[in-house]
């Protein structure tokens, strides 16, 4: 085996299942094993929670140690030789699995966790084929409603206590307990203190089995039917990394995607539950242009010609954009109107901040938009109501998928010329001369800049409806007609590259952003604005 030493000073050398490697001092065996590409089966351990070593699954054989050691709670020592798959260790794990199954009901056919269940996985991998507990009744407790979204199925609980530790140590709200003792134990809650913490949905992700389940997702889809797409939560400026789960192109669930620099393993309930808009059916599906007083569907060529013409006419322009618009979309819209008198504002709904106490710099943020900094850097710096009023005197008003209240609607309807890039069928469209169907962030790829100046990529999770196209393409294609020197990007990656002439994006490539994002140091340091 080729020794693999990480680029650190003073690495501790260990051998795990024959793989030699060097890891930082203080690394636990379980984390060191990950670096060696070895997964040590475990339940109660979690890299974002304090480690109590109670499930006893991660017991490994360590040469010269008198007993099997819990890998999650044992730090590496120089020259340690660890066996994860020796006979003794496997027998110990088989023992734990057998004991977990004696009271665990055979619920797989009706349990949401099936297909993404760590009990299923390890039992299949290393458990006994048959039970020896057949003559006794399993312990029974009724299902409990823990709060707004969470059900607790005590019969399935393996008492790993991840949920309790999350609420205690990460959410700093100890509303879950372990009740009773011995094999009578279960997770308890006080009837007056339900699980409505703004980050409580994470306990469902943390639960290795189907004991804590989401009511929203209950019996909705099977894990193996889901397509998973890496994305960024559009719910606020925190920019938590998420995974969008779709089944037959319908978004059925959002879960956090690990990013140790942003959201660790968590996301808030606001972001988690706010996905139904992604499945709206009332979509704008074709470009419409006003002709003889009525809106008529047309093709993109015609529509883009119209947009180019309108863009070239003189006079002030007002752009009102949805907070979910990507860097690429906002960037190209501004380029379309470069050199003009532009008032550009971003629609920013606001709400209460909800921090996750146990993780530094992690909260549901007041500004409920994912790309506030990105928008501001691209010129979307006008105050919203000022911009709305400015439409009265604008030569051209461009709306990008905004939601207007009645007053705003009335004001904007009075504008000279209205172009609406929209995802859905909307009353405002009746006042427009041109409506163009665009994709929502879940139907396109792009990037957002979060509150910490981290540029992060999100990926298309479901197909665009009808003739809808990304807003950046619409703007770029129109720009290409106005200025033939401009090359229309053929992909969102090209679109980003084209925008790197902006100072704050200089040197960025899609690869450099990767799938964990990149912090733009110049912006952080304030040397770039």
């Amino acid at each position: 085996m080729v020794p693999r030493f990480s680029l650190m000073s003073d690495p501790v050398r260990v051998t795990i299942d024959g793989v030699e490697l060097g890891v930082a001092r203080g690394t636990t065996i379980i984390e060191a094993a990950k670096q060696a590409g070895i997964l040590i089966p475990h339940y109660c351990y979690h890299p974002s929670l304090p480690s109590p070593a109670v499930c006893r699954m991660c017991l490994v054989e360590v040469e010269k140690a008198p007993k099997l050691m819990p890998a999650c709670a044992t730090t590496v020592t120089e020259g340690q030789v660890v066996h994860v798959h020796s006979e003794v260790a496997e027998k110990a794990r088989e023992g734990v699995l057998e004991l977990l199954l004696i009271n665990h009901p055979l619920d797989c056919p009706i349990c949401d966790q099936a297909g993404e269940c760590e009990l299923q996985d390890y039992v299949f991998q290393e458990g006994r084929a048959r039970t020896r507990y057949a003559d006794f009744a399993k312990r029974f407790n009724p299902v409990e409603d823990f709060g707004p979204d969470i059900l607790y199925v005590p019969n399935r609980c393996i008492l790993c206590t991840r949920c309790v530790r999350f609420m205690d140590d990460v959410a700093a709200t100890p509303v879950l307990n372990v009740s009773e003792r011995g094999d009578r134990a279960f997770i308890g809650i006080d009837a007056n203190e339900l699980l409505d913490h703004p980050w409580s949905g994470n306990v469902v992700d943390l639960c290795p089995v189907g004991s804590l389940v989401s009511k929203d997702f209950l019996h909705k889809a099977r894990a193996w039917e889901l397509d998973k797409t890496a994305s960024i939560c559009p719910g606020c400026t925190q920019g938590c990394n998420i995974e969008i789960d779709t089944r037959d192109d319908v978004v059925v669930r959002i879960r956090p995607r690990p990013n140790l620099d942003v959201n660790r393993h968590f996301m808030c309930d606001h972001g988690r539950m706010n996905y139904r808009w992604m499945n709206r059916g009332d979509r704008a599906e074709a470009p419409l242009r006003r002709s003889n007083g009525a809106m008529q569907a047309c093709d993109w060529e015609t529509a883009l010609d119209d947009l180019a013409t309108l863009s070239a006419e003189p006079g002030p322009v007002v752009v009102l954009a949805s907070g979910r618009a990507s860097v690429e979309s906002l960037g190209f819209i501004m380029r379309l109107f470069a050199g003009r008198d532009v008032t550009a504002a971003l629609q920013v709904p606001r709400g209460e901040e909800a921090p996750l106490a146990g993780v530094p710099d992690l909260a549901l943020r007041v500004e409920r938009v994912p790309n506030l900094h990105g928008a501001q850097l691209l010129g979307f710096d006008a105050e919203w109501s000022t911009a709305v009023r400015a439409t009265e005197h604008a030569a051209l008003t461009v709306l990008l998928d905004v939601e207007l209240d009645d007053d705003e609607l009335a004001t904007i309807k009075r504008c000279a010329s209205l172009v609406a890039l929209t995802t859905r069928d909307d009353p405002i469209l009746q006042a427009a001369v041109l409506t163009l169907p665009v994709t929502s962030m879940v139907e396109e790829s792009g990037t957002y800049l979060n509150r910490d100046y981290r540029l992060q990529r999100f990926r298309q999770a479901k197909p665009a409806p009808g003739m809808a196209r990304p807003a950046w393409w619409v703007a770029a294609a129109a720009l290409g007609r106005v200025n033939p020197d401009v090359r229309v990007p053929g992909s969102v990656e090209d679109a980003l590259e084209a925008l790197t002439s902006e100072e704050w994006l200089s040197g960025i490539t899609p690869d450099s952003v990767g799938w964990t994002g990149i912090r733009l140091d110049g912006l952080v340091a304030g040397t770039v604005r």
Binding site: A53, V54, L59, K67, Y133, V178, G182, D183
Partner: protein
């Protein structure tokens, strides 16, 4: 109640000298009998010197682990500036053990003295005495004794008038055997569920409230004043067996003997004599069948092993078991071994804290299997199943409660298989347990 029983000639009376003497209990009576001389002496020594004396005596933890006490004290950091704690473990819940209650009931001031000396030696200003909730009489007596000790200047801001601050707090438990485990006890004092903690960190590094802590058993601490009064050499000299087991110990003998009670004997004393002589031997017409010497958490000894063993740590290990807390459960030929093992398994299942999978589920399953055997539905495969469970429950958990459940089961099947066979064959059956 309980005492007095007349002191047997073969006893070596040190801790139990004043058992049964009501007058010895209060402050004046205790002082009259020499209590607090050793504390005064200790306070005039350096803490290190006190630790060395205890080390030299060979005193080992009397709660069950038998860890050398002086060595344990020496683990405490020196000059670290953190508050140090002493915890006196008076949780006494090991089946078969009933010695600490006597020490607290009859010689509370001797215990206070031992605690104060230990606190001084390890640099602790506060000692918590964790007394199990059911010990209502020792609780009342200790509360009164501590109050008297404060009133008379033994404890408080300046121990014995010119020493450092030594405070003592009586903390009442609430019904959990597992709180006798030292790390669980610390959690219990902190106001948490009595769950044992993983080690490292060890209590001497980060214990009670995260600070350096030493936990000692009542009997261990009660021996300390005697060691200071009469010297480590004297204590070390009290040895009839292995030189690593010194001093005297209270052996709690119960079950099928004519004279159950606590007997204080020198380490290394022949077990045969303890049972058949001091404890009055078998009831008429009965023969000795089995002894569980350590409290119940150790392998069962059969008659031959019990009658060959010497009563010290090594001597009992030699005969295949462990001294533990020296709570001797004696069983004669009328005892139903299978039932007693079942009842012990039920005890452990009831007391499991629920953290570790093997203990939480394993103790309960073991109990169910034994119940099934007792009620006539046992099967040949049960031997293998029980052995497998016992193996899973041994050496794989945070604390040794599950190991303690496994020990009587494994040794019981090994040495009394014929009794299990009687149930399996249907020759014997219980209508219910």
């Amino acid at each position: 109640m309980g005492y007095p029983h007349p002191i047997h000639a073969s006893e070596t009376v040190v801790l139990s000298r004043h058992f049964g003497d009501e007058a010895a209990r209060d402050y004046a009576g205790a002082v009259e009998r020499g209590t607090y001389k050793a504390l005064k002496q200790a306070l005039a020594m350096t803490p290190e010197a006190v630790i060395e004396e205890v080390k030299a005596s060979g005193l080992r933890g009397r709660g069950g682990a038998g860890f050398p006490t002086g060595l344990k004290w020496s683990f405490m950091p020196k000059g670290d500036g953190k508050p140090h704690y002493l915890v006196c473990n008076a949780d006494e819940s090991e089946p078969g053990t009933f010695k600490d209650r006597e020490i607290m009931r009859w010689t509370p001031h001797a215990l206070i003295e031992g605690c104060a000396i230990a606190a001084y030696a390890i640099g602790a200003e506060t000692c918590y005495v964790y007394i199990r909730g059911e010990f209502t009489e020792p609780l009342a007596i200790m509360e009164r004794a501590v109050a008297d000790a404060y009133a008379n200047g033994v404890l408080g801001e300046a121990a014995m008038g010119n020493g450092p601050r030594i405070d003592m707090v009586i903390h009442r438990g609430a019904g959990a055997y597992i709180c006798g485990e030292e790390t669980a006890m610390m959690n219990s004092i902190e106001g948490k569920r009595g769950n044992p903690r993983i080690k490292p960190p060890f209590p001497a590094q980060a214990g009670l409230f995260g600070q350096p802590t030493t936990i000692n058993n009542v009997e261990t601490l009660a021996a300390v004043p005697h060691i200071l009064n009469r010297g480590a050499a004297w204590y070390k000299g009290l040895c009839l067996g292995n030189p690593k087991s010194t001093g005297t110990k209270l052996f709690s003998v119960c079950g099928h003997v004519m004279k159950p009670g606590n007997y204080e004997i020198t380490m290394g004393f022949p077990m045969k004599d303890l049972i058949h002589d001091l404890a009055g031997g078998m009831r008429p017409g009965r023969t000795l069948k089995a002894v569980i010497p350590g409290g119940s958490s150790v392998p069962i000894m059969n008659q031959e092993e019990a009658e060959s063993a010497l009563c010290d740590y090594e001597g009992i290990v030699e005969q295949g078991s462990m001294l533990g807390s020296a709570g001797f459960i004696v069983m004669d030929d009328s005892a139903d071994m299978v039932y007693e093992i079942y009842r012990l398994a039920k005890f452990y299942a009831h007391e499991s804290c629920a953290q570790c999978t093997q203990c939480r589920e394993g103790t309960a399953w073991t109990t169910k299997i034994l119940e099934r055997i007792l009620t006539g539905k046992g099967r040949g495969e049960d031997y293998g199943l029980l052995a497998d469970l016992a193996d899973n429950m041994t050496g794989k958990t945070i604390c040794v409660l599950s190991d303690s459940c496994a020990a009587p089961v494994v040794s019981g099947i090994q040495k009394f298989r014929h009794e299990f066979e009687a149930y399996l064959s249907g020759a014997k059956v219980l209508a219910h347990v």
